[in-house]
């Protein structure tokens, strides 16, 4: 495969598509599929056939505003239709060339205007199971450019120059990580992709793997060339069967097109990827636990150093990055490091995908330049809190993150600003809460999550999270005293400072951040036996106690 051959494929795809007068793209991502987009697609096929029009009906990955699903985009006009069901198929087909059915139109201009799509540039535009669709949108161009025109050092330099930071949550500079592994000795090295997304309310990585799997593969291949690896692993949780299926198809197609395997692009570069399934442990998203799991051992973290960059899979230097990090690589290589560097805020470059969920009008997947104000995300892109309720807090970073109160909406979203506010960027979950949420109960939910997902290896995380859960339950039940609150804060500091891995070290964050911004809610529960949001059933519990 050469760059010219890629061009040929891209051109032939465009020619094939040009035969059709219209393209109907149907979102088949989980949210839309659960509302019947599969039946819709079949109905569209039937309606198209009956109408005699030349229509291309394409299945695509996530288009973004899941709450308006099932979504359909009609090209070339780029008209987005929402809540389209199988019985609307004939109306949609009939309206081609004229105004779409008014009931299906969705006015989401504000939702899309503030977004910048880099990672999601193809999601919603290509059929994830067709490699040629990906190639027609500049797919694998970056890989072949790199193999033919750049040295491994040049690639590392470009990534460093872009200012990209790890999208899995830690925010470690990607270029620095790559150069460390590139410099590590030995002829066997590994590239690993962390697709063990497990934060409650987060589905960014799933959507990327399902909607544009080749992008991840291309990023990994470029990384492998840069650091000198010839073998890669994608670690995906088994609870994502569609992602696994799409990746499996994508790997097969890439091998068929000689974009994986031996002598890629006619060069001496060999690289192939295997999929490894996670068995459902959240802690396996921690890099050392993930590597242990790939090796077939119990998925528990180990102390670092040595870091995986020095001693990773089977003791060999290993590069481990998150799905979204790899998804950023191809555009950076194609457009240059400066292009990426110029997006975003001072110390957080580029764009970030967030899964916007909770009490917000437009839930779904969004991609925004870093540095954007929370207000623009919540009020602009998200369309505000529905039902006349009042925004209370925004939870970012999942169980490792914290709650940012509504009065901090002018905070710019960046690694450092979120950290300073007591939360973290995390992998990109963003849960919006309104006045119907009790913050103590929210903290208890996340601690319960950490408690059940703790691996049990180190004592502070294993026993500490369980103790914190007991104390938070007491508070929620109105059975706690001020001594319990003191004890809770004491436990937070020990679990945070003494735990072995990131899971334990960050587990107290939901408690600490709610204590910082919503301490009065804790006090109301303890001193006045009252839940201000009316969530905790204190009365009922008191009756049981009596």
């Amino acid at each position: 495969m050469t760059l010219e051959e890629l061009e040929l494929i891209a051109r032939s795809v465009k020619q094939e598509n040009a035969v059709c007068d219209y393209e109907i793209n149907v979102c088949m991502d989980l949210a839309c599929a659960s509302q019947g987009s599969e039946q819709l697609r079949e109905a569209l096929f039937r309606a198209a056939e009956a109408s005699g029009k030349k229509i291309l009906i394409r299945r695509t990955g996530c288009m973004g505003p899941c709450s308006s699903g099932p979504l359909v985009r009609v090209d070339p006009e780029e008209t987005l239709l929402g809540r389209v069901h199988a019985n609307d198929a004939e109306a949609v087909v009939a309206s081609l060339g004229s105004a779409p059915p008014p009931a299906l139109q969705c006015d989401l201009n504000e939702h899309f205007d503030k977004q910048v799509r880099v990672v999601l540039e193809n999601s919603g535009y290509i059929d994830p199971e067709k490699i040629d669709d990906y190639i027609s949108r500049e797919g694998y161009k970056a890989l072949l450019m790199v193999l033919n025109e750049m040295t491994p050092n040049g690639v590392v330099h470009r990534i460093t120059e872009s200012g990209l930071r790890g999208r899995g949550g830690g925010g470690y500079p990607t270029g620095l990580k790559w150069s460390t592994v590139a410099k590590a000795g030995g002829d066997v090295k590994y590239v690993v992709c962390n697709g063990d997304e497990g934060d409650p309310g987060a589905f960014m990585d799933r959507s990327v793997m399902e909607g544009d799997p080749h992008r991840v593969i291309e990023g990994m291949a470029i990384a492998a060339y840069a650091i000198g690896a010839s073998k890669g692993y994608i670690y995906v949780r088994a609870e994502y069967p569609t992602a696994v299926a799409r990746l499996t198809t994508a790997l097969r197609e890439a091998r068929r097109r000689s974009l994986l395997g031996n002598a890629i692009g006619g060069t001496t570069f060999n690289f192939d990827i295997e999929i490894r399934l996670g068995a459902g442990a959240f802690v396996c998203g921690e890099e050392t636990a993930l590597l242990a799991s790939i090796e077939g051992r119990r998925g528990t973290p180990r102390p670092r150093p040595p870091y995986p960059a020095v001693s990773g899979l089977w003791g060999k230097p290993t590069l481990i990055n998150n799905v979204e990090t790899y998804a950023n690589i191809a555009p950076i290589v194609r457009n240059g490091g400066r292009w990426f560097f110029n997006m975003g805020s001072e110390r957080s470059k580029g764009t970030k995908v967030f899964a916007l969920t909770g009490r917000i009008t437009h839930t779904g997947l969004i991609e925004v330049p870093l540095g954007i104000k929370l207000r623009e995300i919540i009020e602009g892109i998200g369309g505000g809190v529905p039902g006349g309720h009042k925004l209370k807090a925004i939870q970012t970073g999942g169980p490792s993150g914290g709650c940012i109160p509504a009065n901090m909406l002018d905070l710019g979203v960046s690694y450092d600003a979120l950290m300073a506010a007591g939360s973290i960027m995390g992998s990109g979950g963003m849960i919006v809460m309104d006045d119907t949420s009790c913050m103590v109960n929210v903290a208890r939910f996340f601690i319960e999550f950490c408690m059940t997902e703790s691996c049990g290896k180190c004592i502070p995380c294993r026993a500490g999270t369980a103790q914190m859960h007991t104390l938070l339950t007491r508070i929620c039940n109105g059975a706690a005293t001020m001594e319990d609150l003191e004890l809770l804060e004491d436990l937070c500091s020990t679990v945070k400072e003494a735990s072995l891995c990131g899971l334990g070290q960050t587990a107290p964050n939901p408690v600490l951040s709610t204590l910082k911004y919503f301490r009065n809610e804790y006090l109301e529960h303890i001193l006045h036996k009252r839940c201000p949001a009316g969530v905790c059933n204190i009365q009922a519990h008191a009756e049981v106690m009596a």
Binding site: M451, I459, C461, R462, A463, A466, E483, D490, L491
Partner: protein, 237 residues
């Protein structure tokens, strides 16, 4: 021993000490009679850094590091018993006492228990945390030994000694988080497992979780000191 040994100098608790490159803070501290509490560490076994009692402060870093797995470096300044560290150590010990059912007065290891001694050393007088009182089992199916999960602190010394020294790997950990427990084989009864009856696990167990049946009602000190000696003799062969 023709290789030149690289020597590092560092300061532990204000005391200037020297060390070989690659040594851990814990090794160097103990060589110099500086006591750092440990539970999961045992001379002769690999280190896992799990009990977090040996956490120390290193000047220049706000993050605490486990002394058992942190290598020394030139000019390092280590503090092993600041107020912050002692507070964490006491809380960790409290967590252990409240986690399962540790009742010293009826325990076979009373007076010879590492958990008990550590609590005394750290000046732990009472437990502030709510006791969890879990419902745990005792497996007395083995003809010589018994495992009482009520007293297990999941230090995994038994797992490591069985895999690393005896080479049998009968012990392992099952379950997750607070529900973790040590098991023999694939959760078979100990008496029906592939146990070689060597008894090393009993000797390395820091509490009364693993004990010799013949010692019930009598003094049951454990003797884990054979391990470094055994390793040395094996290396000499």
């Amino acid at each position: 021993m023709s290789d030149a040994v690289e020597v590092k100098t560092l300061i532990i608790d204000g005391q200037e000490v020297s060390a070989r490159r690659g040594q851990t803070i814990l090794e160097v501290a103990r060589e110099n009679d500086i006591d750092i509490p440990t539970l999961c560490h045992l001379d002769g076994l690999s280190d896992v850094g799990a009990c977090r009692l040996c956490m120390v402060e290193i000047k220049g870093s706000n993050k605490l590091q486990p002394a058992c797995v942190t290598a020394v470096f030139e000019g390092m300044e280590v503090n092993t018993s600041t107020e912050r560290l002692q507070k964490h150590r006491r809380t960790i010990l409290e967590m252990l006492f409240a986690e399962r059912n540790h009742i010293c007065s009826v325990c076979v290891s009373n007076g010879h228990c590492e958990l008990q001694s550590l609590a005394q050393e750290q000046g732990l007088t009472h437990i502030r945390l709510p006791y969890r009182n879990p419902d745990l089992s005792v497996d007395a199916s083995h003809e010589r030994f018994t495992v009482d999960h009520n007293r297990c602190i999941l230090c995994t010394r038994c797992v490591r000694v069985c895999a690393e020294v005896e080479g049998a790997h009968v012990w392992d950990v099952m379950g997750r988080g607070i529900d973790s427990m040590v098991i023999t084989d694939l959760h078979e009864e100990w008496g029906k497992s592939t146990c070689t009856r060597c008894g090393k696990c009993v000797q390395v167990c820091p509490t009364g979780a693993l004990f010799d049946k013949s010692k019930i009602g009598s003094d049951h000190p454990k003797c884990p000191d054979f391990l470094p000696y055994l390793n040395l003799m094996r290396e000499a062969q």
